[in-house]
Symmetry: C2
Subunit: 153 residues, 2 copies
């Protein structure tokens, strides 16, 4: 048997309560996934999931996403070894976002650039311009050595 997600209720109070998980997939069939590290709560990445990715994540305990750029299921870390073990899943009041608390295997990196987190830059305002400043430049692996064209990250 596989997990089935019922259609979301049109009643706000039902959507916001306990009971069946009824994710509100968008027009493209996706929910947003926010991924933090179970160790210290650091925000690692934001990705998307279709129903299949969400189901596989819940059934296997390993994070699966949907790659919009490659238009296919994406088992995170399949190539790099940086698999994500899911310790807790939460959802928000209107059930269109899931929050995964994970631990990362392999190089302890979630970003395809080799950094621990995709959020390695701060946005700073200088003279009416918004500029990006690199806050974390530690590479946990060499992307060129790990990825080849078209491979799953």
């Amino acid at each position: 048997m596989a997990i089935h997600f019922p259609a979301p209720s049109s009643h706000k109070v039902e959507l916001e309560g306990a009971g069946a998980f009824s994710p509100r997939f968008d027009a493209a069939g996706l929910v947003t996934a926010v991924v933090t590290d179970i160790r210290d709560g650091e925000l690692l990445m934001v990705a998307h999931m279709n129903a299949e990715a969400l189901r596989l994540t819940l059934e296997t305990g390993i994070a699966h996403y949907y790659s919009r750029s490659r238009a296919k299921l994406w088992k995170k870390g399949e190539t790099s070894g940086n698999l994500q073990t899911v310790h807790e899943v939460r959802t928000d009041c209107d059930q269109d976002v899931v929050w995964l608390k994970v631990s990362v295997s392999g190089h302890d990196a979630a970003c395809h650039t080799g950094r621990r987190s995709c959020f390695y830059r701060t946005v700073q305002v200088e003279d009416d311009e918004a500029v990006l400043v690199i806050a974390d430049d530690e590479r946990h692996f060499d992307p060129e050595a790990v990825y080849h064209d078209g491979e799953t990250k």
Copy 2:
């Protein structure tokens, strides 16, 4: 002078480096905003921003979003008093998500249900069903007393 966001580069390496912040707004003109509490890193909410909301957030240091349901600019906490002061803004490798680290005024609540965080439910699997369990039911305010129809949350 107002902050202007240049068009994103089509070169991946430029998008991933330091330099001008060039958010990648989607077809609806939005980026995703992930909001955590500066105190302890708790994930409070996920919302969206158009260019105006992002500009106002950077210029004023108070979080502004774009409400998709109301199709208008949304100064978070305008009605409830739960304004969000922004201490740091980060963006991810492809610049389509921003991460705000905030402190919350008023009732110390980000969710319109009165809870501190919108992510007050865990998703648990029981007998091939995914069910929601309420992990935090502490209401910091009474939504019925604070909001009236059509008001900004």
